[in-house]
Symmetry: C2
Subunit: 207 residues, 2 copies
């Protein structure tokens, strides 16, 4: 094995360890409050030494930030996939809701990210409302597309509808999280589908 | 002063202290995570001795339960007031949203209750999803009234619409909580009003 091969193997091993650590952090943050979780718990969950953990993450906040970053990345991937597949903008926004619901219901790391961003007073230095502002912008952009492609009402109040969609999704997420750790989120989104379609396609002008 | 007067004075004084303690608990639970709050902090905030606090509440969970109970009571009062004033069921549900938004935006004890019920792993022995299930039942009951009094669509899917309304309210509550400690909740509810009205009054049957 030459030097480059050895380096590549080491790098691959490092990435593998990092993934295992993030999965372990997700499991730990799902099990206990962020304030109570210790790096030791994450190392034990991952089956590695604390020394090895410190090689990847300096402190607990680094781990939390990495979890939040992976959460945003995976949610962003759903958006990309849906935008590639969807026909109309209306299909796109409904597909986005379904895709995100499936992701959140099944991905423990994404669930850990949600828990972190919902915990007040974690001492974690992140602006937890920033991602939600971004998702309103994403929705508003899709809705403007829906007015343009005719799949939504021509006089849709894009800003108000985008905020409403965000509220519906966040509410469904929070309620399913309390109810059964997000297992019922896909059912909730499916049940909301007809109402969302009505809001987006009904003209507010008197006929 | 006879014995009965003395008893009444003592009881009034006791109630006053209990109210001061709950207000103090609300302030403390708004400022720090439940897990970090100590009875000492609440006694200091209220300006009374820890001994006096123990006379009213045996432990931190007792205080938290009392806060949650006052929250539910005040939210229930909004429902009663709105039901007495409102004309149609549609007015009633829109008025309920507005009334609850105003309460949450301004009442620190209600805010403390919301914080408590949203914190995972507090060790608090309450089923935090139970009040939400109750509010879906309240909404469903008003919506059945709206189908009956003609202020809503005759073929409204009451169950789905009640869940959607609950999701909208909880989402608006959570997002305004993250954004500016609920100050923007009344604005969010006002902005959602047209969409909610559309969902409740649009017939899903093809015209």
């Amino acid at each position: 094995m030459d030097v480059n091969d050895a380096k590549a193997t080491k790098r691959a091993h490092g990435l593998e360890t990092q993934r295992a650590l993030l999965a372990a952090a997700g499991a730990v943050f799902s099990r206990m409050a962020y304030a109570d979780a210790r790096l030791k718990d994450i190392a034990e969950e991952a089956g590695i030494s604390q020394g090895s953990l410190y090689f990847h993450f300096g402190n607990k906040d680094d781990v939390a930030r990495a979890v939040l970053s992976v959460q945003q990345e995976r949610m962003g991937q759903v958006l990309t996939t849906v935008q590639e597949l969807a026909g109309s903008a209306l299909d796109c926004i409904l597909g986005l809701f379904e895709g995100l619901a499936d992701l959140i219901a099944t991905d423990e790391l994404v669930q850990a990210g949600i828990r972190l961003s919902m915990q007040p007073a974690t001492g974690l230095e992140v602006d937890s409302s920033a991602p939600y502002v971004e998702w309103v912008e994403v929705a508003a952009s899709i809705l403007r597309g829906g007015v343009a492609d005719g799949s939504m009402a021509p006089d849709l109040d894009v800003r108000a509808a985008a905020e409403l969609l965000n509220e519906i999704f966040v509410g469904a997420q929070v309620l399913s999280g309390l109810e059964d750790k997000w297992a019922s989120l896909p059912r909730r989104v499916a049940s909301a589908r007809a109402g969302i379609r009505t809001v987006l396609t009904s003209s507010t002008r008197a006929a």
